[in-house]
Structure formats: structure tokens, C-alpha cells
Symmetry: C2
Subunit: 353 residues, 2 copies
DNA sequence: GCGATGTGCCAAAGCGTTTTTCCAACTGAT
DNA sequence: ATCAGTTGGAAAAACGCTTTGGCACATCGC
């Protein structure tokens, strides 16, 4: 500790009492007269006393820190800052944690899949979009760290605590929306089904196609949702024309890349091709045509997950242990088919980058 | 500590040595034979020993945590997740911190301007866009917490450590760019000059206008850069037509709002009005027309700031104590004036939201 | 063979809090 | 006046680790 740092000891000395009494006075714990209590508080404030967190944590056995682990995207960037979904979860979590007096440490899974928190020790962790039998989740649990996941851990026997969307229902929402707006055969553009989200979307897509007697067309973006990978996947999706007349992309960046590629190819959206994405973002709102998206409510996910984790950390039972956050389709121009014949002469605009 | 938790003591017992030796063996400190060292390491691993961070920090006097304080935007959201600038700084900082074994706790300044870190104690803090004589910065310094700022603290006597752009030069970059693309009288749309950034931009704008013998037109967005406030400011900017024929908006959200308002009014961008923003974002790339921006390199700012802070925390002298990060104008469609006569018949598109 | 120098390990003293236990001084009832 | 009960406060024991100082023993030079 830096020299001159004022601790509980210095306060005690200045107040002419014992450290015990100072501790009691400041924490409202023991039996101290209000008079002494206030005097001590005043002196502590005057001296600029700030309790040492480490010492407090040592005896308390807690650190006041929560961890949030987001999946890595590409190697360069810690997390694609543009993946608004993660950003919104993170923000919501930070917000809730702050309000409850916790600090939130955001990290990503290191390449070597070692413990993500380095030196720091967290009281609990939120794992975003865990993998199947996620080793990190298992490791944290084994270490006795309470874990909440956003999205479920596939193949997990335990009654884990999670928050998630009902991806089966919401996938149908999107596909039905596309069908209602004239799509006969929508393609699905998604990442490798390593998470419960991707898995359920694919499964539901297949089921929906079977029910509607259309052939499923699935495009997987290659791992590491970089901009290049997205562009490449977008090309493959548009190559499915004219068999497919729409695409549902499970990440707004994929949807935007598809939109971009359509523009490049002079494929009119929404006239000739419908595009829907997930989840909402500023870029989706500002693109032209603006992008229809499934809002996964990352804000609610982040908030609920953090609340559940804090309950867990404080020894309470989260209520409920599993929470499903509703989704909604935000219909925008990219699926809003106009009456035929009124198509704007927009070619000049569409061809410019 | 949970019962059964294996500590240094348990490892020592299992290895038949003293706790001291275990500590030395695991930290590579004292004099221990490689044979014993390895044996202890093996046993520690077998037992699943994980050092208690609080205890370690208590004696070490450090927590391994860095704080990052971003300005509050509106009350609801912890930080406008859409302000890509902050997100990118945060990401870069997280990344650097992680790599160096630190945890980064991101917070915002609480409304009551109390200490932002609640229970948790940080070894150092980065304050993003500090205010004039920022009380938070002063308070942190007074508490002996090393501080690095992104942007300078106006009215600060101390030789503080900061990273910043050269806003005087870069503002000229943008204004010259607008002039080169035909603007006679660009307006400036910015927030209240509470930060060094806003202050210098305004100052430079005034100087530039004087040099070019044009009347300056300044629009301030009201505090709390919400979407409503941005829209309202955008209306005021466009009301300046036809006197003004361009706008430089110092936040991409403001630029986008202006673009949106122009679209609503059927003002063609860039034909009738040029718009440039700062800083770059996915939304700026995807808008139509795509938005010319000044890239402030928030990534570099976040990275440099964190590196400097870590140096400070570890008792080294940051080199340099003040770092200026270069900017560049990314020219896109919103300022790219096409040859007259080839204006696309884009009205049908511009009127749709 | 004797001091000098290394070597491998350990005991003990903190680090700054909280918590438990205990004590002395009152208070009020008998 | 005595006893039980209460009250305000303090002493001391953790919490789990690092660090300092020192103790044996081995090695070496002369």
C-alpha cells in the first residue's frame, strides 16, 4: 500500500477508538452509539479514508466482480465492435452490474481456451452464446464459479441458469414474414451451428421448409465472421437465385453483406429479392433499403442474465432459473414489396458503391 | 472462501513442504531446486489449485484491474451502444488489457458524479473525453490512482498523460475537403464544447471561416446526445439552407440524423448539400449515400491509452506522456459531387423512410 | 581442518479488513 | 446492596498469500 495511505487504523487513531469500532461504525454492523458512528464517519471522510477492496474481499471471500465472456470473432479485433448484438448485451450487463455495485469485466475466450480472466478473480460469469458442452462453462463450474449463459449449452445435463430467445418460434416469425411478403423459397444464411441459437434456427428452418414443401437452401459462413467471410457467403446466397427469392441472415452483418452484394449485382431489393436479418442495429436502420430484422432484444438478454447472476452470486435462487425473452420482427423496406409497376428507376443509385 | 477450497496450504501439505516453498515454486521467486519446483507445480495442478486473487492483491497492493470511464449519454442506456466511437475505444482497451493480464472494468460517470467504481478498486483509470477541470479526474488523482485521458483535460495545470487527435489539423482536413468538393459555406454541428475535442473543433472552425471570409454557422445539439436531440439539431442545420451548403457533424449519429432529415426534405445529398461526420462506423458505411467521415482512430486511441496506463501502473514512464494519433478523411458518397446533369432520378427512393 | 560462501528450505511477520468473543460499565429490579 | 440484563466498545483471530530473515547443510579455497 502506498505510503501515507489512510486505512482503518489511521481513522481509529484519529477518532480515539479501536479499528473494530471504526469498521462497525462504517458498515453499520456492531453496536455503536449514533454519536460515535457519526463522528467516525466524519473523521473518515475528512481523512479521505477509502477501504481497501482486496482486504475486504479477502475476508469476505468475494471480489465484487462479474465476468462477461463473449465469443471471439476474428483475431485482430477483440470482438467485432460492429456486432451490435454483443455490444448491446455488454452494455446492458454493465449497466445492471454498476447499479448493483458490481464491476463487470468483459473478456473473450482466449485462443488457447485458457481461463479468460487472467489474474482477476470473478464472483460469477456470464457466458454469451456458449458452444456445445462448452469447456469454458464446465471449467468455471468446476472451479465453483456461478455461471449464467445467454443461449443454452447444448448437451448440458445440468439444470443450468440461462436466458434465451425462443428461437424456434422466432425463426418461424421471420420465415412466415418473408412468405407473406411473397417469398416462395427463402434461403438461410447462418454461421456454423455451434451454438444453441444457430442449431435451433437451422432445425426450425428445415422443419418449416418441409411443412411448406420447399427445398431448404442453407449457406454457412465460414468461421470467424469477418467482413471477408460475410462477403463471400453473400455471394453464395445470391448465386442461389433464381431458385431462392429471399434470404434470412442470422447476423445483421451477414444481411448487410447480402444487401451490398445484391446492389452490386443490380438485384433489386425488395422487388427481386427479400432480405431479413437478425438482430437490430444502427447499420440496419440506416442502410438503404433499410433492413427488416428480427430483434433478439439483446438488451433484455444482458439485463436478465446479469440479474440472474447477481442472485446466484448472492446466494439467492434466480427466479426463474431459465428465462425466455420474446422476439419481434421489425419490418422495414428490405422486405416491403411495393405494388408492381411502381418500381423506382433506382438503377443509377443501386450501382454506386 | 468455500470449504474444501484448495489453497497454498493444501498444496504444501500434499507436497510435504512449507507454504513458503509452494509460493516460491509457483512464482519462480525464491531458491528452489527445479526438481521440487516441478513437483510442486504438478501437485498444484492436480489439486486444481487456483491462487486467491484478493490475498495476493492484499499483500501486493495491486488489483490487476484497470477502469475505463466513458461519458454518460442518455439516462436509460449506460452508453449509447450506437456511439461506435466509444465502443471501439472500449474494445481496443479491453483487448490490450486482456493481453497484458489485466481486467478492464468499464463504467460511466454516475449521475451524482460519485466515484464510478463502486466496490471495486482499480490500479489505474482511463477517462474518455474528460470535461474541463474534470472533477472525476482530479478526484482519482487525489486518491493516488494513475489516470490517462483520451482527449485532454482543459484547464489542467498538471502534465497529465493523454492520447488525443490533432483536432485543429483534422478539422481543417474536413473543412478543406468540403470546400474542395464545392462547399462555399459549411455549417458545424457539434455538441456543447465541454471537452477538449469540441472546444478545438469549434475554435478551428471559427478560424477557418475567418480565413476563408465566410460567416460561421454553429449548431449545438442539446446535452445528452439522444436520437431525439440529434434529429432536432439536424432540423436546425438544414434550416440554414440555402446560406449553408454543407455540414460537418462531429458525431456520426449527428451526421446520420442530418442525412435522414435531408432525405425527408428532399434535399439531395451530395448534389445540394454535403455532409461529413466523425467518426467512422458501420452505419456510416452502410447509409445511402454512404457517409464521408473523419476517422479519429478510436482503436488506436484506446490501445495507446491502455498501454500508457499499464506503464504508469507498473511504475514505468509512459513514452511519450502525450501521444497524438493521426486522423484521416474517408471520402464517401455524401461529399462526392457528381458531374451536373447525371443526377439520378432518385426522388422515389429519397422520400421513403 | 577451518572459515567463507552458497544452497535449499522454512518460520514468522505482515497486508487491511471483518467477525467473533469478551469485558467493563451501566441500568433497573429485587 | 446484589444480581441479571444490556450496552458500548475493544482484543484477537482469521482471510490466503508474499516476503524477509535465518537456519542448517554442503561445497570450496587455502
Amino acid at each position: 500500500m502506498a505510503r501515507g495511505r489512510v486505512g482503518i487504523r489511521q481513522v481509529a487513531e484519529a477518532a480515539g477508538v479501536s479499528p473494530t469500532t471504526v469498521s462497525h461504525a462504517l458498515n453499520g454492523k456492531g453496536r455503536v452509539t449514533t454519536e460515535t458512528r457519526e463522528r467516525i464517519q466524519r473523521i473518515a471522510a475528512e481523512l479521505g479514508y477509502r477501504p481497501n477492496a482486496s482486504a475486504r474481499n479477502l475476508v469476505g471471500g468475494r471480489t465484487g466482480l462479474l465476468g462477461l465472456v463473449v465469443p471471439p470473432t476474428d483475431e485482430l479485433l477483440f470482438l467485432a465492435s460492429d456486432v451490435a448484438y454483443f455490444v448491446q448485451i455488454t452494455n446492458a450487463a454493465t449497466n445492471v452490474a454498476m447499479k448493483q455495485g458490481y464491476g463487470l469485466v468483459v473478456t473473450t475466450v482466449p485462443e488457447d481456451r485458457s481461463s479468460p480472466f487472467g489474474q482477476v478473480e470473478v464472483d460469477g460469469a456470464i457466458v454469451v452464446d456458449p458452444l456445445e458442452r462448452d469447456p469454458l462453462v464446465l471449467e468455471l463450474r468446476a472451479a465453483g464459479v456461478p455461471v449464467v449463459t445467454t443461449g443454452r449449452v447444448l448437451g448440458d445435463e445440468e439444470d443450468g441458469v440461462w436466458v434465451d430467445n425462443d428461437h424456434r418460434a422466432s425463426t418461424r416469425l421471420v420465415l412466415d414474414h418473408l412468405a407473406r411478403h411473397g417469398s416462395r423459397c427463402p434461403a438461410l444464411l447462418t454461421n456454423q451451428p455451434s451454438t444453441s441459437f444457430a442449431f435451433e434456427v437451422e432445425e426450425t428452418y428445415a422443419a418449416w421448409c418441409a411443412e411448406h414443401a420447399v427445398e431448404p437452401h442453407l449457406v454457412h459462413v465460414r468461421a470467424g465472421i469477418s467482413e471477408d467471410a460475410a462477403a463471400e457467403a453473400a455471394r453464395r446466397v445470391l448465386d442461389l437465385r433464381p431458385t431462392c427469392d429471399a434470404a434470412y441472415a442470422t447476423l445483421d452483418r451477414l444481411a448487410l453483406a447480402t444487401l451490398h452484394e445484391a446492389t452490386r449485382r443490380n438485384v433489386a431489393v425488395p422487388e427481386e429479392f427479400l432480405i431479413a436479418g437478425a438482430t437490430d442495429s444502427e447499420a440496419a436502420r440506416w442502410s438503404l433499403p433499410s433492413l427488416t430484422v428480427l430483434n433478439l432484444q439483446p438488451d433484455a438478454l444482458g439485463r436478465s442474465a446479469t440479474e440472474a447472476l447477481i442472485a446466484l452470486v448472492e446466494g439467492r435462487e434466480p427466479d426463474p432459473r431459465q428465462r425466455t425473452v420474446p422476439c419481434e420482427v421489425i419490418a422495414r423496406a428490405s422486405t416491403r414489396r411495393r405494388p408492381a409497376g411502381r418500381r423506382p428507376a433506382a438503377t443509377a443509385i443501386r450501382v454506386e458503391s
